[in-house]
Symmetry: C2
Amino acid sequence: MLKQVLIGGLCGSITLAVGILIGHYGVTKSGDSAPSWVKDVAKDVDENLIQQFLSEVDNVNIQENLRELTKVPHMATTAGDEQTVQFMLKRWQDPDTGLDQAWREEYMVYLSFPDRNKPNKVTVVNPSGTVLHAAREKEKPYTSDQEDPEVVQPYAAYSPPGHPKGKLVYANQGKLSDYSHLNQTVNLEGTIAITRYGGAGRGAKAIVAATYGIIGVLVYTDPLDINDGLMSDVNETYPHSWYLPPSGVERGAFGSDFGDMRTPYLAAKEDTYRIPEADIKGVPPIPIQPIGFEDAYILICALGGDAAPPEWQGGFNCTYNYGAPGFKPTSEFNNSDIKMDIFNYAKVVNSSNVMGVIRGSVEPDRYVMYGNHRDSWVHGAIDPSSGTSVMLEISSVLGRMVKQGKWRPRRSIVFGSWGAEEFGLIGSAEYAEEYVTKLSERTVAYINVDIAVFANATLRASGMPSMQNVIFKATKQVNAPGLDSTNVYDNWKCYFNRTSPTHGLIPRLGYLTGAGSDYAAFVHYLGITSMDMSYTYDRSKTSARIYPAYHTAYDTFDYASKFIDPGFVSHQAVARTAGNILIRLADSLVLPLNCSDYAESLEEYLKTAVDLYQEKLQAKKISMEPLKRAVASFRRAAEHLDELIRSSDLGNETPLKVRKINDQLMLVDRAFLNPLAFKDKYGYRHVIWASSNAGKPTFPGVADAFADAESSGLDSDWNKVHYHLSVRYSSRRRLAFPLSALLHWHQEDAMAEEGHVIDRHVSEVVRHQEHFHHSFVGIK
Amino acid sequence: MLKQVLIGGLCGSITLAVGILIGHYGVTKSGDSAPSWVKDVAKDVDENLIQQFLSEVDNVNIQENLRELTKVPHMATTAGDEQTVQFMLKRWQDPDTGLDQAWREEYMVYLSFPDRNKPNKVTVVNPSGTVLHAAREKEKPYTSDQEDPEVVQPYAAYSPPGHPKGKLVYANQGKLSDYSHLNQTVNLEGTIAITRYGGAGRGAKAIVAATYGIIGVLVYTDPLDINDGLMSDVNETYPHSWYLPPSGVERGAFGSDFGDMRTPYLAAKEDTYRIPEADIKGVPPIPIQPIGFEDAYILICALGGDAAPPEWQGGFNCTYNYGAPGFKPTSEFNNSDIKMDIFNYAKVVNSSNVMGVIRGSVEPDRYVMYGNHRDSWVHGAIDPSSGTSVMLEISSVLGRMVKQGKWRPRRSIVFGSWGAEEFGLIGSAEYAEEYVTKLSERTVAYINVDIAVFANATLRASGMPSMQNVIFKATKQVNAPGLDSTNVYDNWKCYFNRTSPTHGLIPRLGYLTGAGSDYAAFVHYLGITSMDMSYTYDRSKTSARIYPAYHTAYDTFDYASKFIDPGFVSHQAVARTAGNILIRLADSLVLPLNCSDYAESLEEYLKTAVDLYQEKLQAKKISMEPLKRAVASFRRAAEHLDELIRSSDLGNETPLKVRKINDQLMLVDRAFLNPLAFKDKYGYRHVIWASSNAGKPTFPGVADAFADAESSGLDSDWNKVHYHLSVRYSSRRRLAFPLSALLHWHQEDAMAEEGHVIDRHVSEVVRHQEHFHHSFVGIK
């Protein structure tokens, strides 16, 4: 009986267990089991994957990328450029390490070149027509690189052709104040000015010169500005060091705006309407030509007239005189003219971007973009191939993970290898103009890494303040090159830092207020949250304006591997940092963008504006209170949003709730766009980061309007200050708009949680009524 | 033993069953059961709910709404207006039938009023200063409504004050061609012109007049244009019929643009910068005043000079002469002048919108908007209170469902009761300017129902072509008023129809190219997919330009209930139709917007453009091929998207996939915005629907540029045609952009399905490569 009971009990237990198993696994809960995508949509960034990425980024790969990219000069639209197009396509279409897709995008763009058959000449000609001196036409070769017949002669792109002849004057940096000062002493009519690089935009040196009657401009790089004063190629300059050899010449584009000049606000496709060349704005009206300091030395030290002021003196071992105009009587050039023979010509020519994409798994319609230009002036080892080498290493580590089926980002990752950047950020700007709507609607962020490594001392980064946090997070996970026990973050903080009211002493993230690289169209025209980064100098060790081989025929693999980043460890650190940020932007459930950090920058802007303008505006009865209220509102809204994100269990919420928050984060910068705010500044629409003449970082439209009004004293100009306060920062419209949006999100969310149960009763709704009201209308 | 076996078997079965039950219900499948929101996010529109809505919409409620709204005159910013604000708030905050929230939004707007203490006067004065005739200052009373002291004297808002005196001329409709014709016969310098309403914008009649030296303008409604020729209030006009009594005067705003005039592109908040009054554009430079045809008859029939052409003759039983200038010698007014004494003044005054919202359950950050203005000129029974009565009935039927817990829409529904529309669509335009970013990012569609019922013959509707389908669907579900066996759709098709290449004979949906009501800022400034609808005339039965009491003191509840819609059944049909559309937009899983129908309209536009322009453009070497390609691409992309929606089982997909499609549909119109395309047209940014002078519906920028170029013959003007072809329709940028976006969606979707399995292999990706490539770059 006991046995029976035991058997019975055992059987019963087994039967029960079988039943439980059947019940659990065999009977489908009707409509109750979670669809497969429920987990996918809740997935957050995987820290292990980031570690794997960091460990796979290889310095030798970067070095080999660079070697390949710099085999030949690859100025935009040349055969060498096409070679790099093919190389990028090959890499991004590689079956083992490529992306899902890669393709080219072509634009017909307006570029300017010297004439191969009639080289530009700068000569000293005496009254009888004898040439006493001719500036060197090509840089002196030290490696075979400089002997490549495809090395373009130094020239100023978009300088008009022409043959001006006149007496030489020295105009320092060619700033408005320089010409104005010089004009007090010297009759500039019909002269040719020699200027140093720096201080003013390239094109501005000629544009402003022309207003003084100057008929031609020379520009050179002074050894004081680039070489810490060193000049000799016997033992001081490259190939003995990173310093610029005497014959080195910085090339460059001399236009003022970005994008193709003949198709403003239109993508430069074959059929696009092109404005007549005569209508192009912002280009030199008179010939301008860059020369090496070897020639500049000969010309400047022979100049007559009074000695220029101390701050105009450069690195030559002679006194820089103004020019009488012309050379001093004791010079062999006495009474001689400078003759410029410029044969530049412009043409509309096909330029390519190369695009590559890793399709997102969960939100393919959200793009994280990463780009750099591909075209160089000569071999461009540093500018831009250091960045391209880094981009290729990032894309191949990620591509391999994708091809092996180990990973697919939540959002799509789009890589861009832009063309014709050196001529005015053309490839990226045309791309932005063509895809303005799609990019605006879908792009989460843009990462730009152009020159990845200027020098190997420290990281330098700029970007929208909302990216500060993700940049910090990434830099803390990467070892500083050459410093085993220090991370990039701590090292960065030693070189660039500030004290934040919220975070204490932190690295200083710069602002993207200019148009120095391809981020310009993304920041200023599209209002896409962007960043730019590189490894750079220890400023205590050099005062070089930029790395000395910049835009010369010495910017080669040899130069980069010997003097900029031996071992390519700084490149590696940049690749690790940028790739880490990229993965976080692509994979995080909630976008790693922080609006409170944005608020902090706006508060700094406001403080500066109040300090600079409030007193004088009060005298004009223009109130800054609306601006103050708007900034305060933005701060409150940002904190509400932070709190919402912190306090929500978003992994277990409907993905539409997460999307809502992410859309809000994605679109914060778009809310600062105003297409009518800067009528005179091509492509600038972002009311916080537009360029301005303000000396200190503050609201650019207000700053410029204030400066104009102060200078003219006209009521109509003071009205413009008031307008700029209204159009952009007050009235719940701009700054306040994001606020209103943020608040609204916040409350909508609080309410949406309840909203899931649709048989909600009145009481709960009424409880939120006041909040909802306030939230919808904005600041109150 | 048998018993034991039986018992054992029974026990075993029970135990097994218990086990199954425990297993099924008692043991949670780890992470496998669907979260509660999975069903919510997949929910589609409920046809039963729509039927319930239709059955609950009540004509008597609408009648009582109207009675309440028309108790007193409620011109913008008056005490009567505030009374309607309070009424709207009370209704939308009602605990049983109200919305989740309701609140007011205030703007400080620039309005123009007559002076209560110094009424505007129009008199005939003989050379010795004797007043021979004075135009009536107030309309003749037939009900107590007209005796309300708050009835505003007829005036032309934004007419300047002034006291012009001069000889009278008759200028037909005050069009440019009318003045130009008149100027050939009569010296217009120093004259006062009398004009008929119609043919030109109100303000234009004075703006153009001033260029001919005319110093004042009168405007009246001719019986031929409004009353089918009838004139007598003894038995012909109101209160005997719907026709306008002789003393009735159409009031109106005489500005040309929409929105507050002193804060262009800015929300008119208290602190907003206001342009000086002298800088306001588009307002009459000379006094203008409307009068009744009772007075116009006396003036016109006394005019001297030659007889005006037949098409200038109106409904009076006399010959309309040009004026010599002045009256005929046989008239008692011989040698007399017209004297205008206009005392209008402008002020900045507080105007309110009333907003109400039903929060969405699944996508609270997507808004379906429904609006109408609240302000009238006098009692405004038809304009706008017929629309407001309908809106209130819709909102209370929906509100009741929400309050009873029976329903909550998927998306948020936002109602707007706009202020100061009659002065230039001000409330809605300021709202659009204040919330430009948020509305652009989140608004799915805007439904405008201003005058709900002009007459009771047929529906008339206008809107973006993408809304055609949902409008058709709704109209098929509503009985035509007075016709039991016919639905609104079939009845509509009898009155307005066209043959569609795709759908055959269908009702004709009009285009929203003008700025006739509050949809203007939504369509033209924000690029939000919009529609406007009303019940209207049988054109075979009347040639009235509009319902005769329009903007007069006779537009009262008495008038509406007796002559416009006795029984309020047409109001009911409009409420049912508009509410049906509203629910479908708010509840459908996939937005009921159809891009293929948009493509059909673009193809019609293109056909017209080719017919009108191609030959002459070819002669100027300007190709229309890019435009043709762009339209063809849009068509392909639209069909791809349709096919994707048709072939996908979206209820079982990740909600992010549905959201992606919906975002695409929501943003189609936004992709047609270009803030730089119409520099001279305030607030117009939509390149398809902007106003133009083209006689036929086609691309407005191209049409206007073509007209200018043909008239001037200048190369620079032909360049502008080429520019407009580029800026807006070619180069994959505008038309092509939606294409590209649509294609991209399509392919992304095809790929995203695969993408769920992240261990995808190369082969599948490569299979899509060509497609993906094409899709990303756009047209190829």
